[in-house]
């Protein structure tokens, strides 16, 4: 009899809710029953409200069960992993999965992240093999045609950035993957690195070959211990199997890479601050120009891309630029892995073509709040993103579309708040966070954030005259800051003030009475 294939995720979101104990229980129970089990530790499918979500393969079809506690395992074996209260049916048939277009995340949750054979069996390395047969110009054309833009939030066309580095003459060039995913409400980078690390390695190798860089770094935040472990293992395997090294897949191209661990500074997600940190300096922002593409790591031309941008490169080369470009809306081409988080019933990773409305994401896909109370606000794009009220829920998910509504998609995190949220408190937190994380180089951010906290506190005490002052301060920070930390902190503050004025005036009225 063939072994029973059971999948228990090793994604941090699953481990954080006792997936390890579930795996141990599966192993122990199978031993007692003398059932031969092949236990596969996959990434997460992204339905995080169901974690730990266990899958069992029957007749070649994977059936999902979740959320599973260690105590459920015995009963699940009793039910022969069939009819049970936790049974969700075939994984691919779950509505949440069926509604997605998974290109970047096609393999995440499906395969053992550290099996290079499984990676290849699911289309991996096809893109790299194709790229090895192309000229640099052809590769740039492919990237430009795909329409891929920086998924870290800035939305700069990836192909143009690569071309700048490619054309810069230098003895050494670098590929740097920005895995300093510090935005609250985002976890796509983490899930990709933990669930399909070879896709990032392949994407970085393609970038290296295209621009003439032989060395790459992943700057990975220290808050992601599982991702650090998985990436290091994957790099070791890729090197042993000839994907990385002096001769990439037997070609004339050399490319190798390593992981560098951050040290808890949010601002290091900004690319120039990241480069300083990588060089072993304080993570202080650099003035631009020069662009990192001309003078980046150690002064050499450097591609700095987000994990999702680089992780999407293999599928573009595997399936062709046109395939990718044909998804999307306006100038936002392809798919975007949206992270639905916060107070939401069905939270997780939902990859779909650009264009879905914010309301559909929150109400239909996210199922409204976890608490069952009305949605009050949704913060899109991390701690520097605007708070959207329900009246703006028809905004389609796209770079220009969100910009037009005074917001930004950032790294595509969507954080839902119910009606108990205190928006003055959230505005204060945005300023406090900026003060804690400011690198200190420019005055509007360093001083402005501290004054911002004080000004919000004045408003909280009923001093309505501080409201125009806060608005003025936000203008100064927005126009005068060197990077997005000081420059975008006004987004959450001003959107909270504009869309939820009652939260700012409540105390003023009380004081007047």
């Amino acid at each position: 009899m063939s072994k029973l294939k059971i999948y228990v995720p090793r994604d941090a979101a699953a481990l954080a809710v006792d997936a390890e104990k579930v795996a141990e229980a599966v192993f122990a129970e199978a031993k007692i029953r003398e059932i031969e089990v092949e236990l596969i530790r996959n990434g997460s499918r992204g339905m995080l409200w169901l974690e730990p979500m266990v899958e069992v393969e029957k007749d070649g079809v994977r059936h999902a069960f979740g959320p599973v506690t260690p105590h459920d395992v015995e009963a699940l074996f009793d039910a022969d992993w069939g009819k049970h209260a936790l049974a969700l049916g075939p994984t691919e048939e779950i509505d949440w999965m069926k509604r997605q277009t998974r290109l970047t995340f096609a393999r995440v949750g499906v395969i053992d992240p550290l099996s290079l054979d499984a990676y290849e069996a699911h289309g991996g390395l096809k893109g790299l093999r194709r790229a090895l047969g192309m000229t640099g110009t052809e590769m740039i054309d492919e990237m430009k045609e795909s329409g891929l833009r920086g998924r870290g939030g800035a939305g700069f066309p990836t192909g143009i950035k690569w071309d700048t580095v490619r054309l810069a003459p230098a003895s050494q060039k670098y590929i740097v993957a920005n895995a300093d995913e510090g935005d609250s409400g985002t976890f796509a980078d983490r899930m990709l690195m933990e669930g399909d690390p070879f896709s990032l390695i392949e994407g970085m190798a393609i970038a290296g070959i295209c621009v003439g860089a032989t060395k790459g770094y992943i700057y990975l935040r220290s808050e992601y211990p599982e991702a650090i472990h998985t990436m290091n293992e994957a790099i070791r395997i890729a090197r042993a199997r000839g994907v990385l090294g002096a001769s990439v897949l037997g070609s004339d191209f050399a490319y190798d890479m390593e992981v560098r661990v951050g040290a808890g500074a949010y601002v290091c997600g900004e690319e120039t601050s990241l480069l300083n940190s990588l060089e072993g300096k304080r993570g202080v922002v650099r003035a631009k120009p020069p662009l990192p593409a001309i003078e980046g790591f150690l002064g050499k031309p450097t591609v700095v891309n987000n994990i999702i941008s680089l992780g999407t490169v293999p599928v573009i080369f595997e399936k062709g630029a046109a395939h990718y470009r044909d998804f999307g809306l306006g100038r936002s081409r392809g798919t975007i892995p949206i992270q639905i988080a916060g107070n939401v019933k069905f939270g997780g990773l939902f990859e779909t073509a650009f264009g879905t409305s914010l309301g559909a994401l929150v109400d239909e896909i996210g199922g409204g709040t976890a608490t069952g109370r009305p949605v009050k606000a949704v913060q899109v794009g991390g701690p520097l993103g605007a708070y959207f009220p329900r009246s703006k829920f028809d905004t389609p998910f796209g770079y220009e579309e969100f910009d037009g509504q005074g917001g930004l998609i950032g790294h595509a995190g969507v954080v839902v708040f119910d009606d108990t949220a205190d928006m003055l408190g959230m505005a204060r937190f945005a300023m406090e966070f900026c003060a804690v994380e400011s690198c200190g180089k420019c005055t509007p951010c360093r001083i402005g954030a501290v004054r911002g906290v004080e000004t919000v506190d004045r408003i909280a005490r009923g001093d309505a005259s501080a409201i125009p002052l806060l608005t003025d301060l936000c203008d100064t920070m927005k126009d005068g800051s060197l990077c997005a930390l000081g420059g975008f902190t006004p987004y959450p503050v001003m959107s909270a003030l504009t869309h939820f004025p009652d939260d700012f005036h409540a105390n003023a009225k009380e004081a007047a009475e």
Binding site: S184, S222, R260, G262, G264, L278, L298, G347, G348, V415
Partner: protein
């Protein structure tokens, strides 16, 4: 409180750490991580040795150590409890968990309990934003932390 490392041990071990990173491009952060992994903090006594090893000033090393939240200039408690303060966890009741942790441990952020058992630190996002409130206990991530689960976790670390 842990005593500072003996000078001989420090020099020998630090010499080995510096040698391990001799070929690194931009070696300071990896070195500081290694130092902290060894002693639990970055001892003041290590700064001049690192500075000399990398041919930079002691002020530059200090500047880097003090810039990053992760690097400690003095020892922490035996256990490290980090609780996420970021927006997604706040939306899921994080404030209650923060308050409960502070009350239970009798310390504010960055504080260590009187018996040196637990240090409480804030963290801004562990990437567990759909299953918050989240926390990290001695490097292990935990999610869906309510006040009851927090109590269990703190009891486990002897608090």
């Amino acid at each position: 409180m842990p005593t500072p490392p003996a000078p001989v041990d420090l020099e020998a071990r630090l010499g080995a750490i510096l040698a391990d990173h001799a070929t690194f491009e931009g070696p300071l952060l990896p070195i500081l991580h290694a130092v902290q992994a060894e002693w639990g903090y970055v001892p003041q006594e290590a700064l001049p040795i690192i500075a000399e090893g990398l041919n930079i000033s002691r002020a530059e090393v200090h500047g880097v150590v003090s810039f990053y939240h992760d690097f400690r200039e003095e020892p922490a408690g035996r256990h490290m409890v980090k609780i996420c303060r970021a927006e997604a966890c706040q939306a899921r009741g994080g404030h209650g968990v923060e308050a409960a942790a502070k009350a239970r441990l009798g310390v504010d952020w960055h504080g260590t309990t009187a018996d040196g058992g637990v240090t409480l630190e804030p963290v801004y996002c562990l990437g567990l934003c759909a299953t918050g409130p989240a926390a990290m206990i001695d490097g292990r991530v935990v999610a869906r932390v309510d006040e009851k689960r927090l109590e269990t976790l703190l009891t486990e670390v002897g608090a």
